[in-house]
């Protein structure tokens, strides 16, 4: 029962990644693409958490943490590059 619920959640998360990918392809300015990147990386944190629950391994959560740190840092770096602050 609970597995079915999590599978539904995984499918919706994947759909959300796909829709953000659409914005990444279309986005007229680099800022639009960066915000799509941000939303995708945050959704991927949820996706990794779902994967770790389905495989019942707590160790996968560490990967999600590193993922979060690097996603945040990537957005900061691109923003600082765009506003000529490096």
């Amino acid at each position: 029962m609970v597995n079915i619920l999590i599978i539904i959640a995984i499918s919706i998360t994947l759909l959300s990644i796909a829709v953000s990918m659409l914005r990444f392809i279309l986005g007229p300015s680099p800022v639009d693409r960066v915000i799509a990147f941000d939303v995708m990386s945050v959704s991927s944190i949820a996706l990794i958490a779902f994967i770790s629950v389905v495989s019942k391994r707590v160790i996968y959560m560490d990967v999600a943490l590193v993922y979060g740190i690097l996603g945040f840092l990537g957005v900061i770096v691109v923003a600082r590059y765009l506003e000529k602050g490096m």
Binding site: M1, V2, L5, I6, I8, A9, I10, I12, T13, L15, S16, I17, V19, S20, L22, R23, S29, V31, D32, V34, I35, A36, D38, V39, V42, S43, I45, A46, A49, F50, V53, V58, M61, D62, A64, L65, G68, I69, F72, V75, I76, V78, A79, R80, L82, E83, G85
Partner: protein, 129 residues
């Protein structure tokens, strides 16, 4: 029986979280300019991730620490990164949509610049004398 009910509650919360994630990306797709996209994307992805992790916490209560760390981290960093990005977007003049009503910041900057130009003029005049 009890754990079963907890698991179902957790799964439903996780589904609610993923629905918020989906809404955020739909907002990302539909909004007309970069600032509104940042609005929709940030809010929905923050709450979506938090709710998903909270729901999974009901399923595996013994992983409390890891979920808590991730929730705190997302809650702290996500607004900061979106603020920095929006500021960058404004400084490189990504256009606002036509629906925009007011732009107080631009008015303020124009006032500042005209005042500075005025001061410069006065200074030059004084030096000339």
């Amino acid at each position: 029986m009890d754990t079963n009910i907890l698991e179902i509650i957790g799964g439903s919360i996780a589904i609610a979280g993923s629905i918020f994630l989906l809404l955020g990306s739909i907002g990302l797709y539909r909004m007309p300019d970069a600032y509104n996209r940042i609005q929709a994307g940030t809010k929905a992805s923050t709450l979506g991730t938090i709710l998903s992790l909270l729901g999974l916490f009901f399923i595996f209560p013994s992983w409390f620490g890891k979920f808590m760390v991730l929730i705190l981290f997302v809650l702290i960093t996500n607004p900061v990164s979106s603020h920095v990005l929006a500021r960058a977007a404004y400084h490189i003049m990504v256009p606002l949509t036509k629906l925009t009503q007011v732009d107080k910041w631009k008015e303020r900057r124009e006032i500042d610049e005209s005042r500075k130009a005025h001061l410069r003029k006065v200074k030059i005049q004084k030096e000339g004398e």
